[in-house]
Amino acid sequence: MSRLQVVSGKGGTGKTTVAAALALALATEGKRTLLVEVEGRQGIAQLFETEALPYEERKIAVAPGGGEVYALAIDPELALLDYLQMFYKLGSAGRALKKLGAIDFATTIAPGLRDVLLTGKACEAVRRKDKSGRFAYDYVVMDAPPTGRITRFLNVNDEVAGLAKIGPIHNQAQAVMRVLKSPETAVHLVALLEEMPVQETVDGIAELRSARLPVGRIIVNMVRPEVLDAADLELVRTVPRSTVARSLSSAGLGGARRGGHAERLVDPLLTQAEEYAERYALEHEQRAVLTELGLPLHELPLFAEGMDLAGLYELARELREQGVS
């Protein structure tokens, strides 16, 4: 199983939530995972209900069974300073660079540089070993940029090649690409059973494949529970209204006669069922499109009341049961 797990998806599909649940799911039986955030949104801190994360690896959760989840919010500026420190021993000059805004300048004029620093840090964590020669983290899970930008983001080599043709950044990019294009890495895409997110997933996979980046799983998030099944929906189209009215009445919702309270509920309830049927058909279509891609497909339930820490553990359990870890 790949040790670097990259999670992308269309905006609004719950990428961060899925990445966090995956990090929890992978931290089984004493394993240790690192959850990495690269977009400076502090989404992980919000999700785990803690204060904003500094640029430092810290433990944020304990998984059932004793595993540990660490988190890191990578700041490209600090990563660049780190990096300069490592190679050039800059000392106070580094601080001066920061003060003058040169770091901002460097990461801004070369957008690829920023990406190399972010992916570079994640790859470093993947390869890091402790004194006993054991990997520092069993898995690194990255909450990555959205599908529209993921290939560009991971394909740092091409990005940087046009700008920095030689030098340490160029070498760093090469080293990063060796990890990203190897089986050490898997890129998962989060989707919803809606037309646009599914289309983006299909396009995203094609892009990743043409860049020879390893595609992992498709995770369908926020799947609504099935309230009415296909047989019910068939019956909705043919059932006599009066029998539904009688049924409502027998459940204690008023009179079944024309104009009775139960009778007046029939039309609106059947209308809602028709709307449900339309969405149900749409979801089946989208599920079929995703199935055709031939990748491992997982589904996670919708939490109607919104996501919280308990929900996150629930999703992690779900992922584990579906054999993701």
């Binding site: 905006g11 609004g12 000059a93 660079l97 003058l100 805004g101 040169a102 300048f105 070369a110 957008p111 690829g112 560009r152 046009g162 920095a164 043709k165 340490p168 950044i169 160029h170 809606e194 646009m196 289309q199 099935e226 309230v227 009415l228 099944d229 296909a230 047989a231 019910d232 019956l235 909705v236 189209r237 043919t238 006599p240 209204r241 009066s242 029998t243 539904v244 049924s247 409502l248 027998s250 459940a251 204690g252 919702l253 008023g254 309270h261 509920l265 309830l269 059947l270 209308t271 809602q272 069922a273 028709e274 449900y276 049927a277 339309e278 969405r279 058909a281 109607a304 009341e305 919104g306």
Partner: protein
């Protein structure tokens, strides 16, 4: 029945707060003084669809409209006949032009727009030099903020042509709605900034006394950056900035000019949101920001609002009634069917026993009575089962309604001054002009005139005892 009437047992939360001001989009769209409408909001709330629907509605009411979209879903773009990215407005066919209006639509191609600026402002030789500059290529293709900058630029160009009565702009799908206002200035000040000037023109500094110390710092810095990025890159930036400077007159100045256009009379902002916590929080930030910048806010478009034609039946009562029906069935059938219903195995598999209705085997299994009576009894049971499902569906809907209402009330409490129009949720996506027209009708309708589901298509049902062989699929 001695039970209380469900119509009197529930007092929906939606009537607790005084209604917000209602946004009436028709006077806004029809007023000849309205020249620009900007639709903004966070990603995924239906901004592009709203922009397109407003454009169509204004055009069918006699105005000459252009809709500038940034990144439309393929099928939405096709519905307006703009499936190619050529960066120029195209006439949309198939609209009702009896009022003398026209609808044009275009998709923004940010690289093309940037290239056009260069080509328009530089002589061919210089333009070629800029277009081939690697730094320019990286900047125009993917720099954070370029899309916002170019959307503003394009808006300025369209307005300057004065060919249209009304320009409707969709804003880029940024992480934050505020990016639309911030990014152009940020890009402008970065490119016009002191640092970039110092770095790219160090020679100019030499003569000035007192700059010597800084100059030392600078050369150390350019040295380090040069080592890191390769000297070529800094040189590319230097060439690019000086070339753009002489031909273009400054990025910042240009961004400022478009910014002023947004503050001018005739511009109206519509903040688009969905009744979800994050989207409305974002909308509130944006409303505050517009006020701080003296930009005219017309109101809030709240998309995908759910309703129910039976909103007097509460979720709790619906659930209790559903349990009632399911309990009696479990007693009768010893749980056979009820057990299967929630099992994931039956999901979508049409050959599972649950789906065979009516099942002769089940009729035989029940004891006593003629087969005909059993069939009737069985049919009644499946109706009970269906009714329980309908009630559960309704309970879900009512819970959704009250969540939406809570988030909406929070927004209204913070910003009672903002006029709101609600757009009822559609079960599917919009793919054609009819769909856009429908959204336009929903945008213009006062929600209080159209209570919930009765406004939805397909809500009118055939009369009593009709078995409805065909439903609206």
């Amino acid at each position: 029945m001695s039970r209380p009437d469900p119509a009197h047992t529930h007092d929906p939360a939606r009537h607790h707060l005084a209604p917000a001001r209602v946004l009436d989009v028709d006077p806004l769209l029809q007023d000849p003084k309205t020249r620009i409408v900007v639709c903004c909001g966070s990603g995924g709330v239906g901004k592009t669809t709203t922009a397109a629907a407003l454009g169509l509605r204004a055009a069918e009411r006699g105005r000459k409209v252009v809709v500038l979209t940034i990144d439309p879903a393929r099928r939405l773009a096709q519905s307006m006949g703009i499936d190619s990215l050529d960066n120029t407005p195209r006439r949309v066919k198939g609209i009702d032009d009896s009022a003398g209006g026209e609808l044009h639509a275009m998709m923004l191609d940010m690289k093309r727009t940037f290239d056009e600026i260069v080509e328009a402002h530089a002589d061919p030789e210089r333009a070629a030099a800029i277009l081939n500059n690697p730094f320019y290529q990286s900047l125009s293709a993917g720099f954070a903020g370029t899309q916002e900058y170019m959307a503003m630029e394009k808006l300025g160009q369209l307005r300057a042509r004065d060919e249209w009565d009304l320009i409707i702009v969709d804003t880029p799908p940024s992480r934050s709605a505020l990016d639309f206002l911030d990014a152009p200035k940020r890009l402008g000040s970065f490119l016009d900034g002191r640092l970039i000037r110092l770095l790219t023109a160090p020679a100019k500094l030499g003569g000035r006394a007192g700059m010597k110390f800084l100059n030392v710092g600078m050369s150390m810095m350019t040295g380090t950056l040069g080592k890191l990025l390769g000297g070529q890159l800094l040189k590319d930036v230097q060439t690019f900035v000086s070339a753009m400077d002489t031909t273009f007159g400054g990025f910042r100045t240009r961004a400022d000019a478009t910014y002023k256009l947004l503050q001018a009379p005739g511009t109206a902002f519509l903040v688009v949101a969905a009744p979800e916590r994050d989207a409305l929080r974002e909308a509130a930030y944006f409303v505050e920001r517009l006020a701080a910048e003296d930009m005219p806010l017309a109101g809030l478009v709240l998309n995908r609002v759910h309703g129910s034609g039976a909103d007097r039946l509460s979720a709790e009562r619906a659930l209790a009634a559903a349990e009632n029906l399911e309990d009696s069935r479990i007693v009768d059938q010893e749980g056979g069917k009820a057990g299967l219903r929630n099992s994931p195995d039956t999901y979508g598999s049409s050959d599972s026993p649950t789906h065979e209705t009516p099942a002769p085997a089940a009729a035989e299994a029940s004891d006593g009575g003629s087969p005909a009576e059993d069939d009737a009894e069985h049919a009644e049971r499946s109706v009970d089962q269906l009714t329980a499902g309908l009630l559960r569906l309704h309970a879900d809907r009512m819970q959704l309604l009250s969540r939406e209402q809570r988030t909406r009330d929070r927004f209204t409490a913070l910003h009672p001054e903002v006029a709101v129009t609600e757009v009822a949720a559609l079960p599917g996506d919009v793919h054609d002009l009819a769909g856009l027209r429908d959204i336009g009708d929903r945008l213009a309708a006062d929600e209080r005139e159209l209570p919930a589901a009765s406004a939805l298509p397909g809500a009118t049902r055939p009369p009593e005892e009709d078995t409805r062989p065909e439903a609206s699929a």
